[in-house]
């Protein structure tokens, strides 16, 4: 069997386990003597803690311990900044990070105040209900704009206001461009991206083995290595004493790469203190507060164009809600700033953001990580510019796309990986053409829409473009080893939350080492198995870890050939590796199974020649010099019931380019899942906070995740511009589907309701039937 696995829709290695219910998730970990934790959390968005009386809680049956901030001693300290601010000249960044337990005051609803450890979660919750906290409620800064205004209640008393950061990035000279523009369009936009809500909430199980002096932590994290390093430092242990395992994870999407959550830091400490394993599993109710959100921005943006609709420049000033603390730096607003430039040639750009502290949970990346906000702004500005200039909405985009001979394209400003924003490769016009063709744009605009409108139906079309910076560094690593059984182990530091790494990485190894994909055992997310790595985020797994895997597999292939050539006393060029064996080409009988060769490579006696290593194993690291730029075009036809404002998606088309593809089936799954989240973001999901910072819809009954009836069948198209930045030519695709849903819905719904004719616009996301009615439908 010499079929190439790369590029094939290979069925997943991990599915049998997942489908039979045998895959171990963090809550499936069961240890003898295990205790269970529950947190007491602030019911107020901003309040001073006057006193805490734990006596009633401690007296309850089955309660082993109750901890408040004062019980933590030196262990109590603010968490680290996980992502430092970018090296942008003049950037202001006020570091204020979360603490394990609130000491003097709470700064958002749900901030943890005490930890209860008991024989069961039921008993821990009983005790938590009896913990008496005396609160002094304080004025709340909830609304983004009001929190940014002078005189707003301050989230951090030692700062003069609620400015968490201010960053200005420029390219060219916008002011000059605007002066010579034919048209300048100015608008204000409000974009709210909700929270990830993976089906599995977070959880931590910790066990301290006092005899072996080893700590084991099971954690639903997307970055087990970083957690290991941080916990070791915090707990005064050597990194080698700590093992962090991210087993099967039920969806990540971003919030699980926020690091050093209060619970992540406390549960291991409690396990060491109590000498018994401790488990904490977040329930869905607390997930709305205990896990990070992504949230809103308000943009005052303008675009300057020439008479042909070519962009001369863009200026954007925006506020970004960062929540009560900013441990994750400025990744989200930097992404907004950078991704606004899109696939368009924008020679002059002036973007300033102010990140604002509010009395709400922390904001960190959620699939798209701020790109949504930037894409909404540029796509809407183009729509309004097109209308003003009398241009077709697809045409204005076409005129501004970066031409295919302009790559690599330098966008000059600093990206989230701290390198200069550059697009490595791309060819955008054919993607737009393909999307228009798949959705039937011409026919719809010329024939179908007028015909249906004449029948009284309200149909509209939308088409939007975006780029996605993916595959950023710093690096990932992989180790490939042929076992004596003939199976091949692949170990990597990256974690997995459903993206199919057990299969896509195995495909790379299978091709190089000549075994079946199902004979490659992939181990991820265990810091004892692989020491170095950054984590799964920013659509980088396949690019960065994938290339490391490929390099390591290639190195093992070379070893196989060298060892086999020695074994057969022939030239390496005479050898063929296939079906788990190495053979001399064309000579039957002269072949050796890989497992046996592995035994030969690790002799019990004799000498291993200097400069060589035992076994058929190799480790390799890959760090790209910068990210690879993926791109996409989404198009949608929607019909709206103008009386109820309920939309119905008639057609949804995605054309995406993620470079060279390892497993098309897995890529398709990633795009489809992303689109569903984009639809959720555009029309269903909204975190509804009131003026007191209370979240009014903190349940899955009221925070609306799309169901199978809300997501249509989606048609996918695919183009390929390989990335020159990695040997395999791969670009990331994890976030792609989720990025452009907002502007797509705004554009298509405006069209369906014929809002331009009525002088109305949709400049906010999310939308909803009620909001559409208020903005567009209600009389007067």
């Amino acid at each position: 069997m010499t079929t190439r696995q790369f590029g094939a829709s290979v069925k997943r290695n991990e599915d049998a386990r997942l489908l039979s219910g045998r895959a171990q998730f963090v809550d499936d970990v069961h240890l003898p003597g295990m205790l269970h934790a529950a947190f007491v959390r602030s019911p107020h968005a901003h309040a001073r803690i006057r006193s805490i009386d734990a006596s009633a809680a401690l007296a309850r049956e089955g309660v082993v311990a109750v901890y408040t901030a004062h019980d933590l001693g030196d262990y109590w300290r603010p968490g680290p900044v996980v992502v430092p601010p970018p090296p942008v000249a003049g950037a202001v960044f006020n570091e204020r990070t979360q603490v394990p337990l609130a000491k003097d005051k709470a700064r958002h609803v749900g901030e943890p105040v005490a930890l209860v450890v008991a024989a069961s979660r039921y008993l821990a919750e009983d005790a938590a209900a009896e913990l008496a906290v005396e609160w002094e409620p304080l004025p709340v800064a909830a609304d983004l704009e009001r929190s940014a205004a002078p005189g707003a209640p301050r989230v951090h008393d030692d700062l003069p206001d609620n400015v968490a950061a201010r960053v200005r990035q420029t390219k060219g000279d916008y002011a000059a461009a605007a002066r010579r523009a034919h048209t300048v369009i100015r608008r204000r936009f409000a974009y709210d991206h909700g929270c990830a809500q993976p089906m599995e909430t977070r959880g931590v199980v910790a066990q301290w083995d006092a005899g072996a002096e080893r700590l084991t932590v099971w954690d639903t994290t997307q970055a087990p290595i970083a957690i290991r390093n941080g916990l070791a430092a915090m707990l005064g242990l050597s990194e080698r004493q700590v093992r962090v395992v991210a087993p099967f994870i039920g969806g990540g999407f971003g919030p699980k790469i926020m690091l050093f959550y209060p619970d992540e830091v406390l549960i291991p400490w409690a396990a060491m203190k109590l000498g018994r394993p401790v488990k904490w599993i977040e329930d869905r109710a607390e997930h709305f507060f205990a896990t990070t959100h992504e949230r809103g921005q308000v943009h005052d943006a303008e675009i300057a164009l020439d008479r042909d609709g070519r962009i001369l420049g863009v200026r954007d000033v925006f506020l970004h809600d960062t929540g009560a603390y900013d441990p994750y730096g400025l990744t989200v607003p930097i992404n907004s700033q950078c991704t606004l430039l899109g696939p368009y040639a924008i020679p002059n750009y002036d973007s300033t953001f102010t990140a604002v502290f509010t009395h709400k949970p922390i904001v960190t990346p959620y699939r798209g990580a701020g790109r949504q906000h930037g894409v909404f702004v540029i796509e809407r500005l183009l729509d309004f510019a097109a209308r003003e200039l009398g241009l077709d909405l697809a045409e204005i985009r076409r005129r501004n796309l970066i031409p295919k001979d302009a790559f690599p394209y330098d966008n000059e400003i600093i990206y989230q990986d701290f390198t200069r924003l550059g697009y490595d490769s791309g060819n955008y016009a054919p993607m737009l053409d393909k999307a228009l063709d798949m959705v039937g744009y011409e026919r719809f605009v010329r024939e179908e829409r007028p015909k249906l409108r004449a029948e009284g139906r309200h149909v509209g079309i939308g088409v939007v473009c975006y780029v996605e910076g993916t595959g950023i560094g710093p690096y990932e690593g992989a180790k490939v080893q042929v076992q004596t059984s003939g199976k091949v182990s692949l170990l990597t530091g990256i974690g997995t939350q459903g993206q199919g790494h057990f299969t896509s990485f195995a495909q790379l190894v299978a091709d190089q080492v000549g075994v079946a994909v199902s004979d490659v055992e992939v181990i991820t997310g265990d810091t004892d198995q692989f020491y170095w790595g950054a984590g799964t985020f920013a659509s980088r797994g396949a690019v960065v870890a994938g290339n490391a895997v490929n390099e390591a597999a290639l190195a093992v292939r070379k070893k196989i050939l060298r060892v086999a050539a020695e074994h057969f006393e022939c030239a390496e060029a005479d050898l063929v590796i296939a079906d788990g064996a190495v053979a001399i080409a064309g000579v039957p009988g002269r072949s050796i199974r890989l497992g046996e060769l592995a035994v030969h490579a690790n002799p019990m006696r004799g000498a291993v020649a200097p400069g060589t290593e035992p076994g058929l194993e190799a480790t390799s690291y890959f760090g790209p010099e910068s990210g690879a730029t993926a791109a996409g075009v989404h198009a949608m036809i929607v019909e709206v019931d103008p009386e109820t404002m309920i939309p119905s998606i008639r057609k949804y088309v995605v054309v995406h380019d993620c470079g060279v593809v390892i497993n098309p089936m897995i890529v398709e799954g990633q795009v489809l899942g992303g689109v569903a989240q984009g639809i959720g973001n555009a029309f269903y999901e909204q975190l509804a906070f009131d003026a007191e910072g209370q979240l009014l819809n903190a349940t899955l009954a009221d925070y609306l995740l799309p169901t199978a009836l809300d997501v249509p069948r989606i048609e996918l198209g695919h183009t390929v511009t390989p990335s020159p930045l990695n040997p395999l030519g791969i670009k990331g695709v994890g976030e792609a589907g989720a990025i452009p849903g907002g502007p797509l819905f705004a554009q298509a719904l405006e069209d369906a309701l014929e809002l331009p004719m009525k002088g109305k616009e949709l400049n906010e996301i999310p939308l909803s039937p009620c909001r559409l009615w208020e903005l567009a439908g209600s009389p007067g």
Binding site: S9, K11, R12, E14, D15, A16, L18, L19, S20, G21, R22, A23, Q24, F25, D27, D28, H30, E61, Y122, D126, A196, Q197, P198, M199, E200, T201, F248, I249, G250, G251, F253, D283, R284, A285, Q497, G498, Q499, G500, M665, I666, E668, G669, L672, G673, G674, V675, A676, Q677, T699, L700, A701, L705, T707, A708, L709, V711, R713, I714, G737
Partner: protein, 159 residues
């Protein structure tokens, strides 16, 4: 305040089970922690997400909205009971694997149990019917399309 224990006498995947539990122990927790059958997952405890769906006398129900004691006298089926033998998969499981109907797999057991009952009653379902039957199960990874394809595939193969 410890409650009087109650006796749970039930059958799970064909095997008789008897335990003493607190009345308030949720069926989802009973299955996962008392019986160690961790294939059934807990996503919300509000009765919305469907991850905890099991079959009770062949009918899909949310295990987080039942108390363990209420399973007495009933026959429960969980995802662990689907496969006909170790190392083999139920046709529904095979169809999910073949159609890429799962990514992280957390919602999958609840969907498998719901679809098992659904296909038994609707052996030849159309797309709209399948989506309606799925509407009580949330998935955050797949966007549902491949799940629908998997169910169609299973139905086709079953005929």
């Amino acid at each position: 305040m410890s409650d009087d224990k109650v006796k749970v006498r039930t059958t799970v995947n064909g095997a008789r089970v008897e335990r003493d539990t607190e009345p308030r122990l949720l069926l989802s927790d009973f299955i996962r922690h008392e019986l160690g059958l961790t294939g059934t997952h807990v996503g919300c405890e509000h009765g919305v997400c469907g991850a905890c769906t099991v079959l009770v006398d062949g009918v899909p129900m949310r295990a987080c909205l039942m108390f363990a004691v209420q399973a007495s006298g009933r026959a429960l089926e969980t995802v662990e009971g689907l496969a006909p033998a170790p190392g083999r998969l139920h046709p529904l499981q095979e169809a999910f694997r073949d159609a890429h109907g799962l990514q992280c797999g957390f919602c999958t057991p609840g969907i498998l149990m719901t679809m098992k009952a659904f296909l038994a009653e609707h052996p030849d379902p159309g797309e709209a019917e399948i989506r309606e039957a799925l509407s009580g199960n949330l998935c955050r990874c797949t966007g549902y399309q491949h799940i629908v394809d998997a169910v169609k595939l299973a139905a086709e193969r079953g005929r």
